[in-house]
């Protein structure tokens, strides 16, 4: 009886803390990712070996090792909290990667450790999904056209290059993170990390070609801090 009451009390305390510290309150960090210098020119992809995909792109698409926007904006940069935030449990919502037109959509797929990753093939051709993991286990699965999506999980944080061996131009990154405070820089290079409780954080911005940068930020109360990242672009 006593233990039961004890459990109930703990539950109540737990519920109270989640209400107090969870929820959408707290500070936030937002900013912009830009580059300086001349980024490498992206080459058009020759998909003539895969007519079903070539047909989907009236004008040939280019490689995506560096994607830029107006005003020197740098896209596809994963901005995340690398220190200061507790590890999060995997969200119930799966992360999704779609293979369409022999491209990975989106190009960079961030997710939390043990979060479900849904792999979809929307092409009329076979793909093989081959994450070249070094810390997690490397696997390689075939997904012929018309087969239903499959799910996978990664047990440890890692930046994993992904490729399709059948279509050598297809390239992506699975970014497995410890917590769900992350964002990918959009069309204007902007990002925002909302719902941050007060505290000291280390923010890391990672780009597949230019590596990573970190900045320390302290959040007190409900304030919104601005953090900008500038990557040095190399023309080769």
């Amino acid at each position: 009886m006593r233990t039961k009451l004890g459990y109930a009390a703990w539950l109540a305390v737990f519920a109270a803390t989640t209400i107090a510290f969870g929820g959408p309150s707290g500070g936030s960090i937002s900013g912009k990712v830009t580059y300086e210098g001349t980024p490498a020119r992206q080459k058009p992809i020759d998909m003539s070996k895969e007519p079903s995909c070539a047909k989907q792109h009236p004008t040939p698409i280019t490689t995506e090792t560096v994607v830029t926007g107006p005003g020197n904006a740098l896209l596809n940069v994963v901005v995340y909290i690398s220190a200061g935030a507790p590890d999060d449990p995997a969200p119930a919502q799966p992360a999704t990667v779609d293979q369409k037109g022999c491209q990975y959509l989106p190009h960079v797929i961030p997710m939390v450790v043990s979060q479900e990753l849904k792999v979809v093939n929307d092409d009329p051709t076979s793909h093989n999904i081959h994450p070249l993991a070094k810390i997690n286990n490397e696997w390689n699965k075939s997904q012929p056209p018309g087969t239903p999506p499959f799910s996978e999980k990664f047990a440890k944080p890692e930046f994993i290059p992904v490729k399709c061996n059948i279509h050598p131009w297809m390239h992506s990154s699975f970014v497995v993170l410890k917590n769900s405070h992350y964002a990918v820089s959009g069309g204007d290079g902007g990002f925002s990390l909302p719902n941050l409780p007060p505290g000291k954080y280390t923010i890391t911005a990672w780009h597949e070609s230019y590596g990573d940068q970190t900045q320390d930020v302290t959040i007190s109360g409900n304030e919104t801090k601005t953090v900008n990242f500038v990557f040095k672009a190399k023309p080769y």
């Binding site: 070996k49 051709t125 076979s126 093989n128 999904i129 081959h130 070249l132 070094k134 286990n137 490397e138 696997w139 390689n140 699965k141 075939s142 997904q143 012929p144 087969t147 499959f150 061996n165 059948i166 279509h167 050598p168």
Partner: protein, 296 residues
């Protein structure tokens, strides 16, 4: 009386605490193949006698016999020796992304790898090979933190019929095996020249038209396992989720007919049909050993 009992219990407890890690450690340095138990201490001696020239002092596949293709001496081995530190293995009975069983590693030692510099270690004893398996497993922490995967179930082979070969041929098209292996299975498909393994070394798809042995065995069961489990670390993916067992056997039957130089029951049956005979005749290379009268 009560007190002595308590003391005995205490001692038993301490003994258990001490003994448990010792037995666990002993198991980590062991391999189990049937009734044979291999020990890593014995395997270490063998490794540094027979294996390290290729697999390297640290077991990372960087032995002195391995020169990357970029080196000015050129490649001496055509395939980089396996990196036991990464612990990614091609020949497994277990699903993609999992560790192989002790028996899988042992079988690789018995068999050797066709088209590579890895010979068959049939000259060693069963105990020697089991010891080597135990030692190979000490190179990666994966063996401490993970268990080997559950071996896939290979259902009994379905009956070989002309229909099953024809259905296999359809599957070869549908699953786009030809993208890498080529329409005739010669390893010359449109994607073949671009393939690299997980260490960015060029790698060739298997050429069915020469020989009878595969990378991971020579039987129909071995062939079934290869495409269901995939060859981890290479471009060959797993088809476990996308092919039904009975379809998989049909594909096996068809793949055998691509081995035009190896007389298998599948090839004989296929050659007895009009369509099959024409196909095989067009693929066979005839000629004399001296090269005169070669017709391709």
């Amino acid at each position: 009386m009560m007190r002595t009992r308590r003391i005995t219990k205490l001692f038993l407890g301490i003994a258990a605490c001490v003994a448990l890690p010792i037995t666990a450690a002993a198991q980590q340095g062991e391999s189990h193949i049937g009734k044979v138990t291999g020990h890593s201490d014995a395997g270490k001696q063998l490794f540094y006698r027979y294996c390290w020239g290729c697999h390297g002092f640290r077991g990372d596949g960087n032995g002195e016999n391995w020169l990357p293709p970029s080196s000015w001496l050129g490649p001496y081995l055509n395939i980089q020796p396996r990196d036991f530190v990464a612990a990614t293995f091609k020949c497994r009975s277990t699903p993609t992304g999992t560790l192989p069983t002790d028996q899988d590693l042992y079988n690789s030692l018995v068999r050797g790898f066709v088209n590579s510099a890895m010979p068959s270690w049939i000259t060693l004893t069963d105990q020697n090979r089991a010891d080597l398996v135990a030692f190979i497993k000490t190179f990666s922490a994966r063996w401490k933190n993970e268990k080997a995967g559950d071996p896939i179930k290979v259902p009994p082979e379905t009956k070989l019929t002309v229909e099953s070969i024809k259905h296999g041929q359809e599957l070869f098209q549908k699953l786009e095996c030809w993208k890498c292996h080529g329409q005739e299975g010669r390893g010359d498909g449109p994607s073949a020249s671009t393939l690299t393994d997980s260490n960015d070394q060029p790698i060739r798809p298997y050429n069915f038209a020469v020989g009878s042995r595969f990378k991971c065995g020579a039987t129909n069961q071995d062939l079934y396992k290869i495409f269901i489990t995939g060859l981890d670390g290479t471009p060959m993916p797993s088809f476990a989720d996308v092919i039904k067992p009975e379809d998989a056997w049909d594909l096996v039957h068809f793949l055998r007919t691509l081995q035009v130089t190896h007389t298998s029951p599948e090839l004989v049956l296929w050659e007895s049909t009009k369509e099959g005979a024409a196909q095989i005749a067009s693929r066979k290379i005839s000629g004399t050993p001296t090269g005169s009268g070669i017709k391709q």
